[in-house]
Structure formats: C-alpha cells, structure tokens
C-alpha cells in the first residue's frame, strides 16, 4: 500500500479543510481586529457557511479515503449538516452572551469550530484511530469551552468534572477499542466486522463490547454514566451547554452507530441487550430526575439524558437488523438539535446585565413582556414533550414505531409512559410563562442574531412536525449507506 495521502484524498476532505481554514482565520482576525469587535461572530458564520457549501459536491459520493480511515458517504453527510447547523445556531446565540459575560470571542469561536471539526471526523471515521482523533478533538475543545468563564467558580468546577470524568471514560473506551484491535488484528471497522464473524462467544470480545458500550454511554450521558451531565450543563456558559447537548450527543451517536453497526454487526445479540437496558434506565432516571429541578439548565440536562434514552430505542431496533431504527435515530437527532437549541436560545434571552436568568422563576410573566419569546418556548417545550403537531412528536412516533416493528413492544410502551411523565416538567415551564405575573429584573431584549436563531428553530420545529416526509426520506437514504450495504457499495 503506497504511503501518504493522494490528491483525491484532499478533494474528499475538502469540507474539513475549509472548516480548519475558517477556524484559523477567526484566530487571526481576533488579533487583527479591535477588541470586542462584533465581526468575529460573523466571520465564524462565514466559515460555517463555506463548509456547508463545500459539502455540495458530495451528496451522492460513497468512497473510503485516506486508506480506509474516513468514509465520505451520505451517513457522514447527514451528520455533518447537523453539526454545522448546530454550530451556526450556537454562534448566533453566543454573540450577545459573549458580550454580557465578557468572554474572549476569538478563542471561543475558534474552539466552537474545532469541536465541530472533531465531530465531522467522528461521523466520517470508519477506523478506530480516526474515530478516536475526532473524539479527542471534540472533547478537548469542549473541556476548555466549559470552563470558559474563568471568574465563575461553577464554570471551573464544571470543566474540571467534565475533564476528569471524560478522561476516565475515554480510557475505558480505549481499552475496549484495543481489545477489538487485538482480537481482529486491524483497526479498520469494516475489516474487523468480517473477522468477528463466528467469534460471538469469545469472552474477550464480550468484554470489549461492554467496555465500548460504557465508554460511549458516558459520551451520550446514558444512565449510569450520566453523573457529569447536570453539573457540567449547569456550570458551563449557556451557549456551550446548548452546543454540547446537541452536537456532542449527535456526534457520539454517529460514533456509536459506526462502531457497532459497521465494526461489530455480528455481535448484535450482545450489544443490543446492553442498549435495551440502558435505554429503559436512562429514559426513566432522566425523566424522574427532571421533575424536581428548578434550574432550567439542569432540567434540560436531565431532559437531554432522557432523550438519549429515547434515541437508544432506535439503536436497539437497529441492532435487531431494522434499518428503520437507524433512520428514526437520525431523524430524531436532527429534530432534537433544533428544539433543544431553540429552548436554550430563550434561556440566553433571559440573561441580562442584572439577571442570570437560568432559573424557572426567571421565566415568570414572560408572556406579558415578550409574547413571541413565550410562544417560541411553548413550542419547544411541546416538541420536547412529544405533543402533536410538533416535530418532536413525529420523531418520537418514528422511534417507537421502529421499536414495535422490530418486536420490542415493551420498549415502546415504556417510551410512551416516559413521554407522559415528562409532560409535567415541560408544561410547568409554560405555566410559569403564561400564568405567573411577577416578572422581575430588566426587560429581556432579542438581539437580531438571537432572534434569527430562535426563528430558525421555530420554523424547523413547526415544518418538520407538519411535513416531515422530506427529512425522513433523506435520513433513510443516509441510513442505508451504513454497515454491510455501505461496505458492498464501496467494493463496487
């Protein structure tokens, strides 16, 4: 095998290169522009836009590049769009927040772009090494972003917790990966898959599966690996929390799907059961814990944990051989990105000079002051709760029907019951906004970028709830490129 990259490799990783260039441009611009310049955020948006545009030539590509380290296919394309969309909305909602908290804008945007780059590599990685590189790039960027408000002890505490627990869980994941390598003799997921056929009863392989599930479980904040999430979500700067809860989660699910469906498809009897248990426990603990939270960021953290549980239902269906499970997971991740970012956008709206704004009581009387914001939050809460005709309902509907189709009726029933339980804490937010009249502090004001971000989230939540077919078809086409079908296609 000839060493080094070829010219065609550089062509296929064009989006990653554009994003890297954009990130470096932001750093340079930070030095050259006057301090506190608002242009940095828009340069970041430009970088993200250019990266999205550079994805255009690859909509029907299906190749392996860099000697089988990365795959450029519809599956990675779908996720890259999610990551870039999330990064764009995060940038928009960060602009005002950075000013109020007096954060260093240049480094902040640079790290946002770096973590997005890591996510893109994670989605495209079909080799243990490249997945790990992507994971680390994303994780380290997030460790720093979490502790970005240096004078704030909660931010520091959150960063240290995230870093320590992240490092330990990464070690566990790596140990599992090393076992996978040792037992197959290769780090390439697709080659590994054929090597593992017939080895299902090997206890070392079962150990590898357990370790990888544990490592991945931490990244998606599944119970019992969720302990870091509420503290990190609460302590981190709110836009970072928002990006963490959607981008990192989506990237971790992309990694999960690659690792298990491409790397260990023949072991699905083992990992499917683990994910089944994880799904049930995660949904339930996440929802029950959220019921008593008075801090909005903590509530959304536990809600995020519960949503990881719902997503795992899709993984279980996928593990039973139903592509519908993968499709439903992809669809829900897309929908979840918008409704979660929208909800965090409203929390950022509440952050003014005199009010921190992340407690439930800070939303009191929002209907009287900013009826549009209250309506947007109402929409996001209904969508997160899974109430028709929002996008969240369609997403959950598909996840549960995939489970039923795969024969996991009880899993779907538990999912529905959990959705019912979650209604309380979502609608409680609505009650505060509409029925309580004691609004305190100065007027919350929509800055134009924030209004744009929340507006996009609102439109997405409504449109995908009323007309979800397009998204579903795109997701299905992406899901089909994963796994054995994907392998067969590249051998053409």
């Amino acid at each position: 095998m000839p060493a080094g990259l070829s010219t065609s490799d550089f062509y296929y990783i064009l989006p990653e290169l554009v994003l890297t260039g954009g990130a470096l441009l932001v750093l340079i611009a930070d030095v050259l522009l006057p301090r506190g310049s608002k242009a940095l955020g828009w340069i970041t948006m430009l970088a993200i836009g250019a990266t999205l545009a550079s994805l255009a030539p690859f909509t029907s590509t299906h190749v392996e590049v860099a000697h089988g380290l990365l795959a450029v296919d519809r599956f990675s394309l779908f996720f890259k769009i999610i990551f870039l969309g999330a990064a764009a909305i995060t940038t928009l909602i960060s602009m005002k927040y950075i000013e109020i908290e007096r954060m260093g804008a240049g480094e902040y945007y640079f790290l946002i772009l770096c973590s997005t780059l890591g996510m893109m590599i994670m989605a495209g990685g079909i080799d243990l090494i490249s997945i790990f590189i992507g994971l680390e790039t994303m994780a380290v960027s997030f460790y720093i972003l979490t502790g970005f408000i240096k004078p704030n002890p909660r931010s520091n505490e959150a960063a240290v917790k995230y870093f320590l627990l992240g490092a330990f869980s990464l070690g566990i994941l790596l140990y599992g990966m090393s076992l996978m390598y040792g037992l197959s003799g290769t780090t390439s997921l697709r080659t590994m898959a054929t090597a593992f056929v017939g080895q299902e009863r090997d206890p070392r392989l079962v150990l590898a599966v357990i370790l990888v599930v544990a490592g991945v479980g931490f990244k998606i904040a599944a119970v019992p690996f969720h302990m870091w999430a509420p503290d990190v979500y609460e302590g981190a700067p709110t836009p970072v929390t928002a990006f963490l809860s959607v981008g990192s989660k989506a990237a971790s699910f992309a990694m999960l799907l690659r690792l298990f469906l491409e790397g260990m498809p023949s072991l699905n009897a083992d990992w499917r059961i683990l994910f089944e248990v994880l799904a049930i426990v995660t949904m339930t603990v996440g929802n029950l814990a959220a019921l008593t939270q008075s801090n909005l960021k903590r509530m959304l953290a536990y809600s995020s944990i519960a949503h990881a549980g719902y997503l795992l239902i899709g993984i279980v269906a996928a593990g039973a051989g139903y592509t519908r499970g993968v499709t439903a997971t992809l669809v829900y991740l897309f929908i979840y990105t918008f409704m979660q970012l929208g909800a965090f956008g409203i929390i950022i709206l509440m952050r003014r000079q005199d009010v921190i704004g992340d407690e439930l009581k800070d939303l009191s009387g929002l209907y009287l002051r900013r009826p549009v914001a209250a309506f947007a939050m109402l929409l996001f809460m209904l969508s997160l709760g899974g109430i028709p005709p929002t996008a969240g309902f369609m997403g959950k509907f598909w996840l549960f029907s995939a489970a039923i189709e795969a024969g996991f009726v009880w899993l779907a029933v538990i999912g529905v019951l959990n959705s019912a339980i979650s209604l309380y804490y979502y609608i409680r937010v609505v009650v505060f906004m509409y029925l309580k009249k004691d609004a305190a502090g100065s007027e919350p004001v929509f800055s134009p970028p924030l209004a744009l971000a929340v507006g996009v989230a609102v439109v997405a939540t409504i449109v995908l709830g009323v007309y979800p077919r397009l998204l579903f078809d795109v997701a299905e086409a992406s899901a089909r490129t994963l796994g054995a079908a994907g392998l067969a296609a590249t051998l053409r």
Binding site: V416, L417, A420, R428
Partner: protein
C-alpha cells in the same frame, strides 16, 4: 381528589408526586378517548365521541397539571421563606 398523592403531601418525594401528573394527563386523554370510541361504536356518533373524549381528557389533565405546578411553586417559595 383532596387527599393522597396528588396534593402537596410531604410524605412523598417530589418525583413520585409529579410523575403521576403527566401520566394522569396522558391516561385521562387515552381513557376518555377510548370511552368516546366505544360511544361512537354504540351510538354511531363518529367522530364526536372520540373528539369529545380527547378534549375532556386534555382539558381535565391540563387543569390538574397547572394546579400542581402552581402548588409546587408555592411549596418552593415556602421552603425559601422558611430557610
């Protein structure tokens, strides 16, 4: 429903009480929808039976949920004042 779990009954932790509220909303809606469906079958009043059931279920469940939320707020304020 003046006693038992669904009032500010401090014998039960918050998550036990509040988990019931959402389930009540969903259960009431589903149960009354089913009743409406049965009525439709018996008296041929489609779709008013189901529609009526769903609406009554949602309204009733939401009323209970709102009442619980406001009580929870008052409870939290009492805790704050006492502390």
């Amino acid at each position: 429903m003046t006693g038992g779990l669904l009032t500010a009954d401090r014998r039960f932790p918050g998550w036990v009480r509040y988990s019931g509220v959402g389930l009540e909303l969903a259960g009431a809606t589903a149960g009354l929808a089913l009743l409406g469906y049965w009525i439709d079958g018996k008296f041929g009043t489609t779709p008013w039976g189901i529609l009526g059931g769903v609406i009554i279920g949602i309204v009733g469940g939401l009323y209970n949920l709102v009442k619980q939320s406001l009580e929870a707020v008052r409870e939290a304020k009492d805790d704050d004042d006492a502390a």
